[in-house]
Symmetry: D2
């Protein structure tokens, strides 16, 4: 028997490889499927079943990619009209050696959501583990707001029923494997804990301490951000995305080629750290730090214009490409060869971004310096506490709300740590704002410094 | 937070790396500690605590090795007088970020055995997981026979108490991480399941279905094999083994050097598969297939004479060295350069071993062929079923019971699959037996072929 | 600047990656092109030019595969009507930074053969190095017998002219990079030396010590083996082979599936060492040891029937697949999951092959034992010396010359070391020969043992 | 036969692994010797000989480290009284299979310098290749200024004799393998070319076009920089350095620990790119970009105070540690865990460094802005051309010549590309200079922009 959790950072996504007696299944494969092939080949497993717990919204699923390579069959819930794969239903069973995989229809997060219960029939009829998709997380439950306001109460009710009638009855002993970990946009506040049990969640999950009525009300009132790229993911995952056949090769471009592509509309994404971006960058480029691509690219990049990557020559293009193809960005086009230094070595124009420490911000405030102080954290975080005189726009909404920010003022941006604020700063610079600053450490450092906040 | 189970195959040993907020602990490190360093370095963790759940008998622990490299402190139970490290006691606590590690003294398998409970205090006071060492396994409990017959009932009682008064009260929700998986000699019949929960074990573990009296009686009656190398491991782990500083380099030797060392008493270990050994091998070599070294080397190799490895030039010396240093075999000396072919290319003497299929065995039996049919499986397996007219000697006991096997007869050996039988065959050949055969597939294939067995 | 020689063992093929100032060329890429992509990505090079020194006969070229992935342009000589790429001509130049690549048309091995001279124009007009394809090797020159007997003298003359009028005039200082190293079938007797110089070859290459007349006569008289798969390679390389898009995934098959495919005509290739094959194998399987696939698969495998691999579960399928796709075997189909042990564990029939040591052979001869002693080495090697009473058939010709070997006699086969003899033995067994033996160590060990040979 | 060139970037050092028939030698091993062990193990070679072409000045040699692990013997020239190893003399021979390694004493760069000629006696008595140490390079010869002004003419004469009487007579066909490539401080102007031949150097090496008198005069007049760490390397390499037993583990430190160590005198080395350093850094840290450590650490770091690394969390500590231990920096102590962001997240003080583009510099000059323009390139490069009104101090001399730079003026620093200028800027900031700027792209970009220079 082999069991592996494969984590995709950035989108905080978990997929699973479960095999026994030479036959294996993959649950919710990501699009760069080499890892499943590698596990299978290293352990002599034949991948036979691919399960999708639901039509995912936050990444492009790799089922077709993996099926093409291995001949495995794809299965998913029946309540969505998928253009590929096979519908499965409550109580359907699949067998891997002595393991039984039993299907539970668990709608709520989406209508066709399923869970998969694993029982070792050679041991007992009790559930050993359950793959719950986005139904339940460590300390959280799935969001139910994808079908519009009017449907939300109904979806919340479905979710409640799925949890209480399908999942919890499996028993306290059951280990829960959800599709997402902490940081995912698919749950409001997922705890940092890879695996949990039904018993532990019953005791500790705040949502499971509520009455049915309270539960539904809480879910109906919940306000969550929905990145614009979700629409594309839904299309990809319902129709089945393009098959890549591997990680695409990214053309190295010299500075002149990048400049030329940029002038024709290419999206220049600078994946370096905020300090690097501050020290110098290509005018018009957007800064999304490398490991942040999974979570933030989907807010700012479109699926039409070619995407060009600028890094610091760290030879991490493979990682970068994976982040982007997981989000369906098949329009990745090239990267600045040899990294940002080759831009300035070509005597191209360089733009700077002033990075402020929290101490500089404090001093400026104490001096009564005129500024537009912008908080780009999540609204909920802003509501809890903020630096006085802050305006709030969620970083993902900055491109849409430029009209709220005056161009002739000095704009000082903060977030939780200085990464998202630098994304926002880069967007302002791209839109012609001349006096923009990003605060290193932002609220995190501000609190560490014991500077005052408004609660 | 980062949590990884590190499996050491062969000895079916699990060690664990648990870290949070930059601080990490390692539980029961193996002796080749590079894997813990690698995880720490890749994730920016500082290893601060090393825990030994007990003085292990089946491998040489890597605590001192890891402490030397990282400066971490070592902790273990107080009921053994260790020559290194620090004793800890019931209810002692260690902190990693928001995680609490709480010590439970859980004697039974050994007197100083401890368990470590992990609670996330930012969530609740409920146990998330527990490292139980050899107290409890999936489907099994630890063996209690290490202190002699007279102490066994007492140890069994201690184990019962530890399980019922310390472990089970943690609650059904708790995930159990034992030190061993299926195949370990530290439990009679461990289930193949990496992690389990208290709830699941309460429902399914056969030992936990017994009354206190039955439990103790069962444990007292349990007959388990104890490989001779355990004595050396106990000494190593109580005194602290030699620090290696890395995986030792193994000198490549040519055929003449191997021959010369063999004549001076070196232990020649042929790690190729049974079929390869059958097709030709160095006279006087012992065959233990590569992946079997962890489980079987300790039965046949001593700690004095130099060990020389013969393989098929598969460039897997690193793996082989790891198996052996985990068992404390610091007397590994060299390997036959370019593998077995360099032996026969040097025109050295080659010995063969006839490999029989089960069909040949059946035919021979049907023809009434005179033979000494030897079953080298575990006694319990033999008692369940055997091929008629079989004699039984456990493979590990073959060197001690040669007087039970007549030299002038044809000896046909079988086991579960043909690997252990080939070990036994190699030992007979080394001791001058001329007509020995090993049965490929052995009992496994015999049953597949639907040939009759005595039950 | 970056320069790397990429060796493909088995076919002893060298390809080259040469880059400067961000632009790179690949000379004679093999079909598994990931290595060139990896070098390019790790070093920020854009592959712009792919050169084929000639239409290769001994492997399927990866030009189209690499061009598809990178957008590079393909160039080759003009004297063959390739279905892809661009013809180039004497004195054509390509530039990589300060390096000039100059084309020399150097027919002889084939009609369209070219060489590429590298000069660093920032240093001087002298040649630094030259890629000579199969024109010249360390200690050897290319074979000229591919166009039939009547054309051979003409091709030999062309080769002589190419060497003396194009290559040698580049000057003694020039480093020579040939397409093949020792062991290749593309030259009679290539020396084991990765790179040489014009000066060194002029002094030491036996072919370059001859007069023009002697040179041509020697080449005309030369007798070399031509594996049957060369025909397929010529077709592949002229038309352009199928694009794979990566290393194909190989289905793991269980014993029953292998048996079923075998009964329908699948080619079962056992890639284990001779001793392993001797100890037990699938009836009807051909033994070609893993590293020998590049050199020998092309003699025995066809391009129609599915190929199934049997190994010892060494997890080296990646290597095996590469050997086969380099030879164009797109009909690789699957492999026996978990290796040969899963065959006998399924109680399938097992065949043995007796492996003799040279001492056994000597003793049998001394005893006047009746046998058909078969030497399957190259004819030239046989002519130099052989064991008395040997018959000779080159291993590659064994399938065609079965009528020369009597079925009712004991057949003892030897070669240089025991690998090729085991191939031959497996072919005889497959064809119903019952009493076959392969000699471990063969001529190599025989000579080491100082046993007599006929010269 | 196996031959590999192992390049150590930064110090542009080449070591070599040469093996035949199972026996191997390593020439000038670096201190992190795992690469030689890996090659040996992967290819079944026993390392028997370690040669030092001379007592190296620019790195700590790994001979003792490698000998300790493998049991190989160390050999070097006889004219230095080494505390370890064995002296060898002109015409001494060593054998690896059919290869002869012949010693040539070739003093000049140092007194005990040797070269090693490789001949394949099975082919001819002609030299195939020669390891020349620092006697000769592609386009250059070794420096001769290590023994003081008075000895320089004598050393130059020795070098001339070694080249003309020992090396060149080996013949034009001989491939030359020097100990250094382009960028090394051991030769004035080494060409970028991995391997060359005697014939090519005779035709193109500018030094070999001179008469004996001219050659000596040129060498006597040559002005080369000598980094201060050379003294330590000479001591290390004559006495034999401490044996490490592996790459040391580097403790991860949090921001408070780094601050505390810094206050006690630790050397904080920020290995990020100039732009990153510009966007924010730890006050008092020195910036040497990661890949520049090999070439520049030796100018600025001492061997007593603990060294702490600050990076951008790129998980490249292994690479960094290797750079430093090659230079003998056994005082590496730790690294800022999670990289620079963990500094500002702890609300620590952050310093910025303004990075100017060349356009900003030009504009400032055009506007007549008051500034101290500092060129930190090599003196020779400065003499060739500089930006008007530049002062010159070689970057390595900046710590010694601070008195030449006024603290109250704005200091603008440039070099070739902006890396060395940022080193210099960090040193000024560390010494209390408040208004410092580093020019991105520096002279390289300035010329690309076609801005005027003084020649």
């Amino acid at each position: 028997m082999i069991f592996e959790m494969i984590k995709s950072v950035g989108i905080a996504h978990n997929s699973y490889f479960l095999g026994a007696h030479g036959k294996a299944s993959v649950i919710d494969p990501r699009r760069d499927v080499d890892i499943y092939i590698d596990i299978a080949e290293a352990n002599n497993f034949k991948i036979e079943y691919i399960f999708e717990t639901h039509r995912n919204e936050d990444y492009t699923i790799g089922s077709l990619e993996l099926a093409e390579l291995t001949g495995a069959k794809i299965f998913h819930g029946s309540q969505v009209d998928f253009a590929y794969g096979n519908p499965i239903f409550d109580k359907d069973k699949f067998r891997l050696g002595s393991l039984d995989l039993e299907v539970l229809e668990t709608p709520g997060h989406t209508k066709e959501s399923i869970s998969l219960v694993v029982k070792d029939k050679s041991v007992s009829n009790d559930a050993q583990m359950v793959f719950v998709g986005d139904t339940l997380f460590a300390g959280e439950v799935g969001r139910v707001d994808f079908f519009g306001k009017s449907e939300t109460p109904h979806m919340a009710q479905l979710l409640y029923n799925s949890i209480y009638q399908k999942i919890l009855p499996l028993g306290d002993q059951t280990i829960i494997y959800p599709s997402h970990g902490a940081g995912s946009v698919c749950g409001a506040d997922i705890r940092e804990q890879d695996m949990t049990t039904i018993g532990y969640e019953k005791k500790t999950n705040p949502l499971l301490q509520l009455s049915e009525e309270e539960f539904i009300q809480r879910k109906v009132e919940e306000k969550l951000y929905t990145p614009p790229y979700f629409r594309q993911m839904e299309i990809n995952n319902q129709k089945g995305p393009k098959i890549l056949g591997g990680i695409p090769y990214l053309t190295p471009l010299n500075a002149h080629e990048v400049k030329s592509e940029a002038s024709k509309g290419a999206q220049i994404v600078d994946v370096r750290k905020p300090t690097s971006f501050g020290g110098g960058h290509i005018p018009g480029s957007i800064n999304i730090w490398r490991e942040g691509l999974g979570a933030y690219a989907g807010w700012f990049l479109n699926y039409e214009d070619p995407i060009i990557i600028v890094d610091d020559n760290e030879q991490k293009m493979d990682e970068i490409k994976r982040y982007l193809i997981r989000l369906g960005y098949d329009n990745i086009y090239g990267h600045l060869s040899d990294g940002f230094p080759s831009w300035y070595m070509a005597a191209m124009k360089v733009e700077n971004l002033d990075m402020w420490s929290v101490h500089q911000l404090k001093e400026a405030q104490d001096n009564g310096q005129d500024m537009f102080l912008l908080d780009v954290r999540k609204l909920n975080d802003h509501k809890k506490k903020y630096i006085k005189n802050s305006h709030h726009i969620w970083v993902g909404d900055v491109p849409l709300k430029l009209n709220e920010i005056q161009k002739d003022q000095e704009v000082i941006i903060y977030c939780d740590s200085g990464y998202k604020s630098t994304i926002a700063a880069s967007i302002l610079q791209k839109n012609g704002y001349k006096s923009v600053k990003s605060v290193l450490g932002s609220m995190g450092a501000w609190l560490k410094a014991k500077y005052p906040v408004v609660k």
